[in-house]
């Protein structure tokens, strides 16, 4: 039972916690809230200008014409398949990337956004992803990669990016790469469907 409590997550069934304050208030507060609704914490990361905020706004059905480079972070709550998804979009500029790891705790899913047309920075984006994957807080956390900006003629196909990122070597977690265009919305829903099929369901089952 203890191992089950190793990573408290939203919606964990009520179990008796023996050492709650050594681990923080988290689980107590979950009880205090009387969580009727299941929640999922999703972190949206990727290099700057990858389209994270646009994607976030698209998910929340907001206007995407006013997107500016994110200096801090945005949070939106989206309801999908009967589950509340709290999506955290954190700025991707190099100077902010060092802050990413502060947002990884208790994350249920990582969405990593790649600008498929920015071939020059494929290596950089790959390194950042690899670093994230190695984080302790990211252990076993599924990854959904959006190969964004497919509306651009110069965009690389998702398969090519998957190969470049060595995704096939990820054996310790679920992963998926999804071609999309946050601008047009194409492919975004497919990604969300994957989330609901793989993560939401898995979570509900526990």
């Amino acid at each position: 039972m203890n191992s089950e409590m190793g990573r408290p997550r939203a919606g964990t069934p009520r179990t008796v916690h023996l050492e709650l304050f050594t681990r923080g208030l988290f689980s107590v507060i979950q009880k205090l809230k009387g969580t009727t609704e299941q929640e999922l914490r999703i972190v949206l990361l990727g290099l700057d200008n990858g389209g994270k905020t646009t994607l976030l706004k698209k998910l929340a059905s907001e206007d995407i014409n006013t997107v500016t480079p994110t200096q801090g972070f945005n949070i939106k709550s989206v309801t999908s398949h009967g589950m509340k998804l709290n999506v955290w979009d954190i700025g991707g500029q190099r100077k902010i990337r060092t802050f990413w790891k502060k947002y990884l705790e208790n994350t249920d899913l990582l969405i990593y956004v790649i600008d498929s047309a920015d071939k020059k920075r494929f290596e950089e984006t790959g390194l950042e992803l690899a670093e994230l994957i190695d984080e302790e807080n990211m252990k076993d956390v599924p990854v959904l990669i959006f190969a964004n900006k497919q509306d651009l003629a110069t965009a690389s196909p998702a398969s090519e990016i998957a190969e470049g990122l060595n995704l096939h070597t990820y054996r310790d977690r679920k992963w998926q790469i999804q071609a999309c265009s946050a601008l047009s919305g194409e492919g975004v829903q497919d990604g969300m469907n994957w989330i609901s099929c793989n993560i939401v369901k898995a979570k509900k089952d526990t």
Binding site: V28, Q71, I75
Partner: protein, 523 residues
Amino acid sequence: MSEDSEWVVESIAGYLGSPEWVIPVTDFMENKCTVFDDEDENKLTYTEIHQQYKVLVEKLLENYMEEVGISEQQFTDACSSPFAQSKALQAVFQPVLATDDFQVFRSLMVQKNVELQLQALRVIKERNGVLPDCLTNGMDMMSELEQQEMRILQEVLRRSKEEYDQEMARRTQSEEVLEPASTSSSDRPLQNSAESLGPVPAQPTNTPKKGEVKSNRQPDLVASSQTQMPVLTNGASTKVSSAAGKRDKEETGSRSEECVQKSAAVSPTASVKFPPGQDGVDAKVSPAVRPPLKEPGSSSSVRRSRGQAGEAWLEEASKEAGISKPFTELSEAQQEQLQQRALYLRQQRDKLQALKKEQQRPTPAQCKQEGDPANRSVTANGLATDRITASQTGSAPLVAQNKKDVTAEEKKRLQKRKHLAEKLKEEKPSSRREGLVPPDFVSGVDGGRPPLPDLLRLHRNTQNSTRSDSPVRPRAQHSTGGLREDPSPPVGSEASQASVTKALAPPAGLPWPMGERRWKCGP
């Protein structure tokens, strides 16, 4: 069990209303709420503050439970009970819930910020009878104080830009010099004759502008002067390599790296790579002109290379004047002019060096100083050329390794400066969204948030003129502390956190006694 939990819940709810809880928590919120605005995007600082809040609440609750003798088990059970989840109690538990829910926390903080602003408004109105124009008509007029601050800021920025430009000019110069192929000596006479007509300026003018630099391209002479001021050229060229970025970055970058690398082993003069032929020219000229000038001797490097530096300035001066004859063959008047010019140039160099020393901690200059002094004295004579080439080949692989790190770092620094310069041109404090302004610049003057700064300033003003028993806490003072949060650099977060907490602590000379806060807690 249910009775038991009810007791626990009631006890905790009671605690959440007691001064032991309310004082530290409100205190925290009031201190930190100033950065919380209702913009859509969250600042990174929010997360840090949220973390601090979590720690605070956890500590408070833990202490209380220990004191009263509620076990963690009881607490958990109590929280799960339907009683604890009733609507009425949810509101009481809100501050606790905020530890886990960032959105709740944020809304609490934003609300607190607005409350404090309204409170300040009310106080101002009570005292003055009416609200000042700037607070009523919705216009965000700058207060006098703010305008003054803006002027100072602009002045500072302008100067910084000037310095930057000067430095850039110098770097371009050194860069051009570092490109051996860039000039042919055939265009020399023309330019020389043009320049030699004008008298050498006795008054210190500015550092050479770009155009001037170009006309001065004389590979051999410049090269020799280059070699004589290792500190300046190397320090500068490393930066140039990243600044000029687009062109020749690789080349100059690696070269200046080599300089740095080599310097420990070889004399500083060896740092510039030139074919022996050019060094030969150098050798012809420099021994003849041992300068009679005395050196102030401010830094060790200056002292050591005194003689060489003097030569360098003389040479540069003569080069500027377009005199290509050796120093000794010149007329007396010319010699004097040259001396003057050399003196001036050296002063400029010293200034730049001092500036640079301030800016850079471990500069290439420092490694350079470790160079063997014996070698130094030799180098002007081209004797060192053999050593140089030998060591160059030796250090090449090392260079390649380090090149990437250094240029990346330098690039960052330069980019920061560029942004500053850009900001300058805009002349107005822009809102933080607009650009990649360094955070320290942004946070101080928050242009994107109309009423608050005025309010605070006004409040600060009023404080000075009124008695100290005001019901409003000295928020302006805190707020400066709060705002200082933003500039905490993205690196070394732990250290910066420490400094932030320090900065946020109320200043020692607080005019309000601690007991004053009680008024908030109710009876």
